[in-house]
Symmetry: C3
Subunit: 168 residues, 3 copies
Amino acid sequence: MRVAILTISDSAAAGRRGDTSGDTIAEWCARRGEELVARETVADESPAIVPRLIALCDTFGAELLLTTGGTGLAERDVTPEATRAVIERDAPGISERLRVSCIDTFPRAALSRGVSGVRGATLIVNLPGSPSGVRDALAALDPIVAHACDVLSGRVTQHGEPAEEDQR
Amino acid sequence: MRVAILTISDSAAAGRRGDTSGDTIAEWCARRGEELVARETVADESPAIVPRLIALCDTFGAELLLTTGGTGLAERDVTPEATRAVIERDAPGISERLRVSCIDTFPRAALSRGVSGVRGATLIVNLPGSPSGVRDALAALDPIVAHACDVLSGRVTQHGEPAEEDQR
Amino acid sequence: MRVAILTISDSAAAGRRGDTSGDTIAEWCARRGEELVARETVADESPAIVPRLIALCDTFGAELLLTTGGTGLAERDVTPEATRAVIERDAPGISERLRVSCIDTFPRAALSRGVSGVRGATLIVNLPGSPSGVRDALAALDPIVAHACDVLSGRVTQHGEPAEEDQR
């Protein structure tokens, strides 16, 4: 699975703090044996975010593009709007799963406005900004993300599969 | 409750496989004693799907229109977009419930992009394509669907009911 | 936290019944020690609802605006559409949490079409119409609403906080 990471954070982009959340995603890739094709950092500005999302999908050919940061309620949290501008089809159940998975253990996950969707053959998923939020979200993605990318890449066709489960 | 079934599947429409998922819904109707007013199959093409959705609502007068298939991430999965084109008001909590109900038992349910909403006096709900996915979804619909159709048909007015529960 | 309540109900606006749901929210405010800055009742008509939503945000300066009623499937349930017309950014995880929190105890919560979102520095959340639905929804809001308003008001900046948890 070809994975790209986009950290969306004013302070990380300005070098005022490290990118622990991006590190957490990179470690997850390594542990799973996924190929990290690109890793970038950008400030919380739509005109800066949108072209990077597009490039990571269309030029770098990521199958899975994970963003971290900018999904909250604050004025500069614009990741969901920037993501919506580039996806062609939404996949609301993925973001739903990320939030609902920690409904009891971390209620504030409900405040993440993150979205998920497909652009071409890339699945884009917005993860929250904090390292612990990223860890929760990656745990929720673990059992579904390989199948999602297999369907998108055409490695598994949803129709015509022998196993009924694969038709979902 | 007047129920219509629309199976959305290239292979079922072409006769290359049976329509086990549609059968599963029909059996659910029979078991509940619902009236099946129409059952059709259509290929995964928006220009084919949209007029059938409209006819099943407006001409056949279904109170509940259940679709199966075409809700996944693959390129030909266009059921959610076709459904959105015909509904007048969305009911996102229903599709949410269908996915979240099996969050532990079948994580891939999160990949279903199915939507729910109202057109006139018809509630439309997209179910996944596989028979097991349909079974899970019908189990999630069981406790809510009769009340939903009662409200839509005007048999129960949400306002002015003596029981407080009915005002929700 | 400056809280406003808008009860959206034909029968309450016409004085045909009391506003038990609004009372329930007011008691919740008192119990939490929140400041109730306004409480109004309006009929289920978008042209009546929209200006009141705007006034409660922009003129009364509510940090949290809770509506009750008009979120169901009936024809006159237009609260979600009226709310969508005034919010600048959606916060879907909040309404998701309200519904999913009672997925086992009150399945019909799935039929609430309520939305949540931000207008300026106000968080707007649609609660269902029945007193018991309101109680369930307030219980789901309890652990998240103070942090949400702190972020919106700028009392807590999501970026630049020492605690990592605050960055979500």
